[in-house]
């Protein structure tokens, strides 16, 4: 097989070039690794340093805090004692005053309520008495009115009854008289003969003749 020498040269040059590039890349990689390792070691040292500083600051702060807490506790105790004392005193005074005022108020209220209650009781009692009197008077008046009305009605009824009885008796009497009268008339009328009629007429005419003369 025949290879073009130009191509051959070209290939060899290319390979050489590629090798050079590869070497450059490897070198660059190594340098990068080294740099990375350096940075890592710097980082660790810096971290360590930072931690140390933090520990120191925390210790200082703790110490300071302990001091502050100790001071605060001391102040607190004093304050509490003073406050407790004041409160106790104030409470005692206030309680005493309150009790006094309360007692006074209570007594006042009791008196007021007693007075009010008494007043109400007096008013109610008075009103009740008045009411009793009014009711009693009205009852008496009503009884009188009813009594008078009842008497009037009774008298009226009695009069009506008497009148009614009278009318009934008159009616009965009248009816009976009328019946008797009619019966008598019928009996007489039917019982009179022609001759008796003539005699009655003659007798009546004689009587009238005497009166006319």
């Amino acid at each position: 097989m025949f290879i073009n020498p130009a191509l051959y040269v070209f290939l060899i040059a290319t390979i050489i070039l590629l090798c050079i590039v590869l070497v450059a890349i490897v070198l660059s990689y190594i340098a990068t690794i080294r740099r990375l390792n350096h940075l890592e070691s710097e980082k660790e040292s810096l971290y360590k340093k930072t931690l140390d500083e933090q520990h120191e600051a925390i210790s200082a702060a703790q110490k300071k805090a302990s001091e502050i807490v100790a001071d605060a506790t001391h102040i607190k105790t004093e304050t509490e004692e003073a406050l407790n004392s004041s409160i106790s005193k104030l409470s005692s005074d206030f309680l005493s005053a309150y009790q006094t005022e309360a007692t006074k108020l209570k007594n006042d209220n009791i008196n007021k309520y007693s007075n009010i209650s008494k007043s109400i009781s007096d008013i109610v009692t008075g009103n009740l008495e008045d009411l009793k009197k009014i009711i009693a008077q009205q009852t008496i008046d009503s009884q009188r009115v009813v009594e008078v009305k009842f008497k009037e009605e009774y008298q009226k009824l009695e009069e009506e009854m008497t009148e009614y009885k009278k009318e009934r008796i008159q009616k009965i009497n009248s009816n009976i008289y009328e019946i008797l009268h009619n019966i008598s008339r019928i009996a007489f009328g039917k019982g009179i003969s022609l001759q008796e009629h003539e005699e009655l007429i003659a007798k009546a005419l004689e009587e009238s003749e005497r009166e006319i003369k």
Binding site: I176, Y177, H181, E198, E207
Partner: protein, 168 residues
């Protein structure tokens, strides 16, 4: 006209019916007097009750030559009959001749002047008479006597029939 003859004719008048009958007769006679010759004479002679008495009162030729005089007599007689006063007599039964005669005799005795009787039948008076003359009312009936007896004896009748009602 002779008074005696006139009184004889008037004596036949007892009741209002008699008066009505005589007045009708006189009226018919007067009407017929100038209408038909002889008619009045026939009417007069055929009236049995009043004819004879009336003829006696008239002139002899009353239906021929003396008609005017006859007419005057009839007119005067009619007026006198009308002017006779009447008396009302109420009775309880139909009037018989005997009753009419009784009433007539009574009328003649009781009144000075001639009176004509108006008889009315009222059974409710039971018996007796009621006389009404010149506006005066005389109740002599049996019904009236019975009513008065009832009124007078009211107390006794009431006791007898015990009509007092019981107290209600």
């Amino acid at each position: 006209m002779s008074e005696e003859k006139k009184q004889r004719l008037l004596s036949l008048l007892i009741t209002e019916m008699d008066r009505s009958e005589l007045l009708s007769f006189l009226n018919a006679l007067s009407d017929s007097l100038y209408k038909v010759d002889g008619a009045a004479k026939i009417i007069l002679e055929n009236n049995a009750r009043f004819g004879k008495s009336l003829i006696a009162m008239l002139p002899e030729k009353w239906d021929t030559e003396d008609k005017d005089n006859a007419s005057k007599i009839l007119g005067a007689l009619t007026k006198e009959i009308i002017s006779i006063e009447s008396v009302e007599v109420d009775i309880a039964t139909d009037p018989t001749d005997r009753i009419i005669n009784l009433i007539s005799a009574w009328s003649t005795r009781a009144f000075k002047n001639k009176m004509i009787v108006s008889i009315k039948v009222k059974p409710e008076i039971i018996g007796g008479v009621i006389v009404v003359v010149d506006g005066v009312y005389k109740d002599l009936s049996l019904a009236n006597k019975l009513s008065r007896a009832f009124d007078e004896k009211k107390g006794e009748i009431s006791t007898l029939i015990n009509v007092q009602p019981k107290a209600e």
